[in-house]
C-alpha cells in the first residue's frame, strides 16, 4: 500500500511541476527527481508563500534543466564516436 500512496503523491507533484515551467526537458519529470525534490523541500511545497511559489518552481525548473543538460553532456562524452560504423559492425551469431 505504501507504494501506491507514494506513486499518487508522485503524480500530484508532477502536476505541479508541469504548471510551473514551460519549456521542460523531457527527462525532468522523472519520479526519482520528484522524490529528491520532496526530500529537499521537507514536504512543504504548499507551505511556501503564495507569491514566490511560481518563482520557486521556475528555479526548480532551472535546476532540473541543468541536471538534464549534465546528463546529456555525460552521454555525449561516453557515446561511441563512430556510431554508424560501430552499429553496422556489431553482428552476432544467433544464440538461444
Amino acid at each position: 500500500m505504501k507504494t501506491n500512496h507514494q506513486s499518487e503523491r508522485g503524480n500530484e507533484s508532477r502536476a505541479r511541476i508541469d504548471l510551473g515551467a514551460d519549456p521542460m526537458p523531457l527527462y525532468m519529470a522523472s519520479s526519482a527527481e520528484q522524490q529528491k525534490q520532496k526530500q529537499k523541500g521537507g514536504g512543504g511545497d504548499e507551505g511556501s508563500g503564495k507569491g514566490d511559489g511560481t518563482q520557486k518552481l521556475a528555479e526548480k525548473g532551472e535546476e532540473l534543466k541543468e541536471e538534464m543538460d549534465n546528463l546529456l553532456d555525460e552521454i555525449d562524452a561516453v557515446l561511441e564516436e563512430n556510431a554508424e560504423e560501430f552499429v553496422k559492425n556489431y553482428v552476432q551469431r544467433g544464440g538461444q
Binding site: 506513486s7 526537458p25 526519482a32 549534465n70 546528463l71 546529456l72 557515446l79 552499429v87 551469431r93 538461444q96
Partner: protein, 494 residues
C-alpha cells in the same frame, strides 16, 4: 499447496572486439571465460552425464545428438564458481547462469553479480589483446540484424501440475508481460513490421506457441524437460521469452511476479483463462505498440489490450494472495507490480526510473530532442546498444544509475558479496562451499551433483536432486568438520 520457490537466470551476452579485423566470436568467448580464474589449476569439469536437453515436457524424447565435449574442451569452456554459478561458453556467446535462489531479491543480487564477473573477466581479457583492440560485452538480446541470444529464467515446479495446465495461462501472460518487463529496442528485425521503437528486445523472434527449440522457430513456452532435480517430484520451467534487463526494479518484478503466477497455477487458482486467439501474433503487436492501445482478439470472442490482460492476472493474484500468507518479498513484489500496472494505465512515462523499456525510451528521446535526431539515426541505435554495455564508466544504464535516475532494489555491497558467496538457502550453498573449500578435490560439477576425485583414482559423485537441501543451516557444521573432501564424504556416511 504450491511448492516453495526456487529460481534462477541464465544470461547470454553479446560480444565484440573493437579494432580487430580478425574478430572471432568463439575464440573471444573462450578468452573471456578463461580470463576469470578462481580455480588456479583450472581443471574442474562440467558434468555432462547429468544433462538431457532433448527431453520434451509433453512426454517424449526428441532425436538429436547430445553435446559432450572432450576433457580439454570441457575445461576451456566451463567455469563453476564459488558463488554457485556457472560461467561458460555457449555457442558464440559468454553465458552466466546464476545459482539457484529462493526469492526475487536474490535473483537481482546474483544477476547483477554475474554482470560484474563478466565485466571483470572482460577487463582481464583485454590485457591479452593486441594494442588498440578492445573487447566489449553487451547484456542485450539482439544485434538488430536478425540474430538473437537469450535471457532465460528457470523456475522449479511441482511435477504433479500437468504441463497443459502450465501452458494455457502462460501463453497470454508471456505474450503481454513485456509491457512491464521489456528492455526496449530501436527498430525491428526478423521480417517484422518496421517501427521506430518497440517494447521488447526478443518479441520479433517468437514464431510458435509451444516447442522444444531455443535457437530457431523460438516458442513462447519452451518444453525442455530437464529438471536438474528429482524428476519424479519436479519440473523446471525454462522460460526463454524474456529480455535481458538492466534495471534492478524490472528484474525484480520479472522473476517475482512470474513466480507468483506459477504458484497460482500449481494451486489451481487461475479462475479466468484470458486465452488469446493468436499469442504469436499478439507478442509482436504488443511489442510494436508503446502506446499500449492495441486490442488483441481473445479466444472468447472479445478483445483486450495487453494492459487489460495483465490487469486480469493482477486481479487473480490479489485474490489468491488474500487467501494465504505471502512472505515480505512476495508482498513487496505484489505491491510494486500493482502500482506499475496503475501507472501503465495512467501514463507509462511515469515509470521512467523503474522499467527498462521506459527508462531507455526517455533517455533516447531526451537525447534526440537535444541533437535533433530521428529514430533511424545511427547515434540513436548506438544509444540503444550502449544502454546494455557492461563497462561501468561507458554503459549508459550505469551512467543513469550513477546519476540517481533509476530506482535500485539492492545495494552495491550485496552485489559485491554475491560475486564470491553463494546464496545460503539452496543447494547452491553446498556447491559453492565445496568449490571454495576443496577446489583441488572437486572433479566435476552439475546443477544436481558434485563429484570428487580422491587421489586413489576413484570418483565419488554426491547427488543433489533436492534443490532445497544443502543449505547453510544444514551443511555448514558438516563442512566445518571436514578439512578435506575425503573427510566430507566420510562424515556424510557416518
Amino acid at each position: 499447496m504450491a511448492i516453495a520457490t526456487i529460481m534462477g537466470t541464465e544470461i547470454e551476452f553479446g560480444i565484440t572486439v573493437k579494432n580487430d579485423p580478425d574478430f572471432d566470436p568463439i575464440s573471444s568467448c573462450v578468452l573471456i571465460v578463461n580470463a576469470y580464474r578462481e580455480d588456479p589449476e583450472g581443471r574442474i569439469l562440467w558434468d555432462y552425464d547429468q544433462e538431457n536437453p532433448l527431453a520434451d515436457a509433453r512426454g517424449f524424447q526428441v532425436e538429436g545428438e547430445k553435446y559432450t565435449p572432450n576433457q580439454q574442451e570441457n575445461i576451456a569452456r566451463n567455469k563453476t564458481l564459488i558463488n554457485g554459478a556457472r560461467y561458460y561458453v555457449d555457442h558464440a556467446h559468454p553465458e552466466y547462469s546464476g545459482p539457484e535462489v529462493t526469492n526475487a531479491r536474490d535473483v537481482v543480487i546474483h544477476e547483477k553479480a554475474g554482470e560484474r564477473i563478466v565485466e571483470m573477466s572482460r577487463r582481464e581479457a583485454n590485457t591479452l589483446l593486441p594494442a588498440g583492440a578492445e573487447m566489449l560485452v553487451y547484456k542485450n538480446n539482439s544485434d538488430r540484424k536478425g540474430n538473437s541470444y537469450g535471457c532465460h529464467e528457470n523456475y522449479l515446479m511441482d511435477r504433479r501440475t500437468s504441463f497443459k495446465q502450465v501452458v494455457e495461462p502462460l501463453l497470454p501472460f508471456f505474450a503481454t508481460r513485456q509491457i512491464w518487463c521489456g528492455a526496449g529496442k530501436v527498430g525491428s528485425e526478423n521480417r517484422s513490421h518496421p517501427c521506430d521503437y518497440q517494447i521488447s528486445q526478443r518479441a520479433d523472434f517468437f514464431e510458435t506457441e509451444v516447442a522444444l527449440d531455443t535457437m530457431v522457430k523460438r516458442p513462447i513456452v519452451n518444453t525442455r524437460d530437464e529438471p536438474h532435480a528429482d524428476r519424479e517430484k519436479y519440473r523446471r520451467l525454462h522460460v526463454i521469452v524474456g529480455d535481458s534487463n538492466m534495471s534492478e526494479y524490472t528484474i525484480y518484478l520479472r522473476n517475482g511476479v512470474t513466480a507468483l503466477i506459477l504458484s497460482m497455477i500449481e494451486d489451481g487458482a487461475i479462475t479466468k483463462p484470458l486465452s488469446l486467439r493468436d499469442p504469436v501474433r499478439a507478442i509482436r503487436e504488443v511489442s510494436h505498440d508503446p502506446s499500449l492501445r492495441v486490442k488483441l482478439p481473445m479466444e472468447d470472442g472479445g478483445q483486450r489490450t495487453a494492459l487489460e490482460i495483465q490487469k486480469g492476472f493482477l486481479d487473480m493474484v490479489l485474490a489468491y494472495a488474500a487467501s494465504r500468507t505471502l512472505d515480505p518479498i512476495q508482498k513487496d513484489v505484489l505491491q510494486k507490480w500493482e502500482s506499475v500496472i496503475e501507472s501503465l494505465g495512467r501514463n507509462p512515462m511515469e515509470l521512467d526510473t523503474k522499467i527498462d523499456w521506459i527508462i531507455k525510451k526517455r533517455m533516447i528521446e531526451s537525447y534526440m530532442g537535444r541533437k535533433k535526431l530521428d529514430w533511424s539515426d545511427s547515434q540513436v541505435q548506438m544509444l540503444d546498444l550502449q544502454y546494455h554495455d557492461l563497462r561501468p564508466d561507458k554503459g549508459l544504464y550505469f551512467l543513469l544509475e550513477r546519476q540517481g535516475k533509476v530506482e535500485r532494489i539492492v545495494t552495491d555491497e550485496e552485489i559485491q558479496y554475491a560475486v564470491y558467496h553463494p546464496p545460503v538457502d539452496t543447494r547452491a550453498y553446498f556447491r559453492g562451499e565445496c568449490l571454495r573449500r576443496y577446489p583441488g578435490e572437486v572433479f566435476g560439477v552439475n546443477w544436481d551433483s558434485i563429484s570428487f576425485g580422491l587421489g586413489d583414482d576413484s570418483i565419488k559423485r554426491v547427488m543433489m536432486s533436492e534443490p532445497f537441501k544443502g543449505t547453510k543451516q544444514f551443511v555448514e557444521s558438516l563442512l566445518d568438520r571436514s578439512k578435506t573432501a575425503a573427510e566430507l564424504l566420510e562424515n556424510m556416511q557416518s
